[in-house]
């Protein structure tokens, strides 16, 4: 009897020892959930807008996203939807900062001087050359360089060609960049969205990456400005995305009364220009910006 009891005890011990593992969880895959197509990128701090160059940066994000480049050739094909007004235009801008001669105040960089590159053209249209002036301590109102900008009516171009006669130490250049696929949002609601429901957005664009910049409209009535709150990078696999509630809930609806949703299809590359010491960003984008109210 004692022998048998020992065997029983042994069996029980074996049963316990064999059963020490815990089964793993079942991983649930939601084919319909587009979350896996979405990366939430940092918008950086608002101060990054230091590098913003344009009033045409309808997303308020452009400067922050490209702040590491000191020279930029920017071409934007912009569609801008407000409640009662729709605008389409071309915005071209350029600037060549002088990185080595930063203007400081109390040892803090407040901006950079910029180079004069002579006559700068985009697709044979000359950009306006604007002097940059600044009140500097000890020097008063001072010319710190030039920036270039051209706004004109919308036109569709396959390739954009930048040419310059050169100026100062910077030689003349001739640079081309392909236009990205044009983006047009097809189904955004005209006035508002609810963060408690997934937001489905369809677009007419084949670019493999679509950026969505969400910015709050801040400032006062006379001096409105856009504050970036979220940057979503979408892997564009099917011409649409459903933004889950979990992401929409991040929109700070208590801080802003209105938001701009900017959908950006872009191409960019960097080039070297003789006489300029840094990489030059050549950027071409199609932007569709929409003003929307956001509700809980």
């Amino acid at each position: 009897m004692k022998k048998m009891n020992n065997k029983i005890f042994l069996l029980i011990i074996i049963a316990f020892v064999l059963g020490c593992q815990k089964p793993g969880p079942v991983e649930l895959i939601d084919d319909k959930d587009d979350s896996k197509l979405i990366d939430i990128k940092s918008t950086g701090s608002v101060s990054d807008t230091l590098y913003a160059v344009s009033v045409g940066d309808t997303s308020g994000n452009f400067g922050a996203q490209n702040s590491r480049y000191y020279a930029k050739l920017i071409y934007q094909n912009i569609r801008f939807d407000r409640l009662l007004r729709k605008d389409s235009l071309i915005n071209a801008e350029a600037i060549f900062f002088d990185k080595d001669n930063a203007i400081k105040y109390h040892n803090r960089i407040i901006t950079f001087p910029s180079f004069d590159v002579g006559v700068l053209k985009i697709n044979d249209d000359a950009l306006n050359k604007f002097p940059r002036r600044m009140m500097l301590p000890m020097q008063g109102d001072t010319l710190i360089g030039y920036r270039y900008q051209l706004r004109k009516n919308y036109e569709l171009t396959a390739t954009n060609r930048w040419t310059s006669t050169g100026g100062g130490s910077i030689d003349a250049f001739d640079i081309s960049i392909s236009s990205p696929p044009t983006i047009r949002v097809l189904n955004l609601p005209p006035r508002f969205i609810n963060v408690s429901e997934p937001l489905n957005i369809k677009w007419d664009c084949a670019n493999p990456i679509i950026n969505i910049f969400i910015s709050g409209e801040g400032g006062d009535l006379l001096n409105r400005k856009l504050v970036p709150v979220m940057h979503l990078q979408i892997r564009n696999k099917k011409g649409e995305v459903t933004v889950p509630v979990k992401i929409l809930e991040l929109i700070p609806i208590k801080r802003f009364s209105r938001f701009v949703f900017s959908f950006v299809s872009e191409t960019s590359r960097t080039v070297r220009i003789s006489g300029y010491p840094e990489d030059v960003l050549v950027h071409s984008s199609s932007v569709h910006s929409i003003f929307l109210s956001v509700r809980p």
Partner: protein
């Protein structure tokens, strides 16, 4: 959003045998009945310990998981209860972190999961009651715990997205009700109402309500048919259109193999899974192993489409659309009495009290009888045993009695007492135990405690047949007395034909000088002195003197017989005297007396007709001749004139010369 609307899975994996058979509702008989059919708990014999493990064979590197440990107990014959801890009864899902979040430096912020949803059925209890042997009812309560860990995102003061996990939990008891009915040896039925009631202990908040485990009500009917002792087949069908078929084959007494077939979408019989298994019995231990294989492996390899979860409702969390192929191992240990009861003792009747003086007689004459019922479904051979502690060295056992199913037989039993019973001075009551054994059982199937009435050693029930057991011619005190008396009269001894006559005369007269007739202080039918006591006390009543004189005669080799007279018109005035064998053959009777009325001619032990002299010991003081005359006169009156022997109110009981 996760909902649990429609599809229900009423299958349980807590028993390896149940997995192997597949259709177990009518057959469940162990602790796993908590899941299958609580009514089956009454099949637990005494104590049962149950351990279950399983291994998911369709997931690589999966080890054995300790599924459950249960204890079951049968009590008060008709009640049974069980409790089980099931750490392996978990259903856990993880929804991976779906989108990637990058910090300002472009590094991805690690998020372990978006949601972790877990359901547990760790604790369950059950109770069942046998209304009749064939019908039982039971209920079980299973505690379901639900927990959702949800990752919440927020933007911190630096405009950077952070994540935080918040936990939500809920728990509820689900109550099942089940019954099992055995119509006969061939047909078994089981009916279970799953999740009949639900008691919520803790509920999810409104935001998480969609994750609440939806324990849908259902009804499952199980039927089993036994083709023979070796094969039983069964099916289960439920209100959710699930049909299970199973068969169990007893290859040997200790080895069983089984198989099951699981279908869905009844009556389409869409195949869902198949199972095989076997079990080995080793004394109280049963080891079962089974293997369950699903035909469709989608969603059963550790990952699944979330839509499957959305469409599923559950009766249990072991068997779901996510259940993997599995190898199940169960060890069941039955403690206490483990054999099947074949026979029961319905009643015991003690046929007589025990008189120590005649204790040997109970070895040949039934002391009682037991009414035994065959409660099994097969004919049995039953033996009844009887035992009284201290007064018996070992239990007695009857010969086997064949009893057909559900029939009763009255089995008389004997008792072999030891001499310790003679130490009982007065009327007492002792415990005796009656057992019944039924083949092929080695242990007793039932037992019945009864009262055994043991009288004092001098007690007598008035039966002259028992009176002879008071006659002790071999008692040294008697032998000593008879030798002393005969030695005193040695000169008168004669070695002729009248030797026995003379010895009887001398012994009677010697006795008359030593003792005197005294009325019994109690009723003579109740109390008899042993001869040595009569010699010692120097007195006795009719019975005592008759017994004493018979013992003295026996001590010198003279055969005697008791004459018991119970007058039919006055039974209370019964009387006993004796007659002894002079060994003078009938033709020589005139040597004793010319008057044939003074003696009796009867055959002795050798078949020879000899002369017997009736002696009335109540006239002891008047000497042998008067006692002889009185005895002869009584005998002539009772037997010859009134034909007492012929009509049965006079009995002559021969006494052996040695006992």
């Amino acid at each position: 959003m996760i909902l649990f609307p429609n599809i229900l899975f009423t299958q349980y994996l807590s028993s390896s045998r149940g997995v192997g058979v597949g259709a177990f509702t009518a057959l469940s008989s162990d602790v796993s009945s908590i899941d299958w059919n609580p009514g089956g708990l009454t099949n637990i014999r005494e104590w049962e310990l149950n351990f279950s493990n399983f291994k998911s064979t369709s997931i690589a590197k999966s080890g054995f998981t300790f599924q459950s440990f249960g204890i079951g107990k049968k009590f008060f014959e008709k009640h049974a209860a069980a409790i089980r801890y099931s750490p392996g009864s978990n259903l856990e899902f993880i929804v991976p972190a779906a989108f990637s979040v990058y910090d300002t430096a472009g590094n991805i912020i690690i998020t372990k999961f978006d949601k972790r949803i877990s359901f547990k059925q760790n604790y369950s209890v059950g109770y069942a009651y046998n209304i009749i042997d064939e019908l039982s009812f039971g209920f079980s309560a299973r505690l379901f715990d639900s927990k959702v860990s949800d990752t919440k995102y927020f933007i911190d003061t630096n405009n950077v997205i952070q994540s935080q996990v918040s936990d939500h939990s809920a728990s509820s008891w689900a109550i099942d009700f089940g019954t099992q009915y055995k119509i006969n040896d061939e047909w078994y039925f089981g009916l279970v109402f799953k999740n009949l009631f639900k008691i919520n202990e803790e509920e999810f908040t409104e935001a998480m309500r969609n994750y609440q485990l939806n324990l849908t009500k259902s009804v499952c009917l199980g039927v089993a048919y036994s083709f023979s002792d070796k094969i039983i087949t069964s099916f289960d069908i439920d209100t959710k259109n699930k049909l299970r078929l199973g068969t169990e084959l007893s290859a040997f007494d200790l080895f069983k193999i089984r198989g099951g077939f699981y279908t869905t979408d009844f009556p389409k019989f869409s195949p869902e899974a198949a199972s095989i298994g076997f079990s080995i019995n080793y004394h109280p231990v049963q080891l079962s192993l089974s293997y369950l294989r699903f035909f469709e492996q989608t969603n059963r390899r550790g990952f699944s489409n979330i839509d499957i979860l959305n469409k599923s409702g559950y009766a249990d969390i072991d068997y779901t659309p996510f259940t993997t192929d599995r190898l199940s191992l169960s060890v069941s240990v039955n403690l206490g009495r483990t054999k099947d009861v074949l026979a029961r003792i319905e009643f015991v009747e003690m046929l007589s009290e025990v008189f120590p003086a005649s204790y040997q007689t109970y070895a040949f004459r039934p002391i009682g009888k037991a009414r035994v019922r065959n409660v099994s479904s097969k004919p049995i051979e039953a033996k009844v045993s009887f035992f009284v502690d201290d007064f018996m060295n070992a239990p007695t056992e009857t010969k086997p009695f064949r009893i057909n199913p559900n029939e009763t037989v009255e089995v008389p039993f004997l008792a072999v007492f030891n001499s310790a019973i003679n130490a009982v001075k007065k009327f007492s009551i002792y415990d005796g135990t009656v057992y019944v054994h039924a083949e092929p059982a080695a242990d007793y199937d039932d037992r019945y405690q009864t009262r055994v009435l043991v009288r004092g050693k001098n007690d007598w029930n008035g039966d002259v047949m028992l009176l002879r057991y008071f006659i002790t011619p071999n008692d040294p005190d008697i032998i000593k007395f008879s030798r002393k008396v005969l030695d005193k009269e040695k000169s008168e001894n004669d070695n002729g034909l009248l030797l026995k006559y003379k010895h009887a005369t001398i012994l009677f007269n010697g006795l008359s000088k030593h003792v005197q007739y005294i009325n019994d202080p109690k009723q003579s039918a109740d109390f008899v002195q042993y001869p040595a006591e009569t010699i010692s006390l120097r007195g006795g009543d009719c019975d005592d003197l008759t017994v004493c004189y018979a013992a003295l005669l026996g001590s010198v080799g003279i055969s005697s017989a008791l004459v018991d007279v119970i007058p039919p018109d006055d039974p209370k005035n019964s009387h006993i005297y004796l007659m002894f064998d002079t060994e003078i053959e009938a033709p020589d009777a005139n040597l004793i007396s010319e008057n044939s009325k003074r003696f009796v001619i009867r055959k002795n032990e050798k078949g020879i007709e000899t002369v017997w002299l009736p002696v009335e010991t109540t006239v002891l003081s008047k000497g042998f001749t008067e006692a002889w005359n009185t005895g002869a006169s009584n005998y002539f009156q009772d037997v010859i004139i009134n034909n007492g022997i012929g009509t049965g109110w006079v009995r002559v009981v021969d006494l052996p010369t040695s006992f």
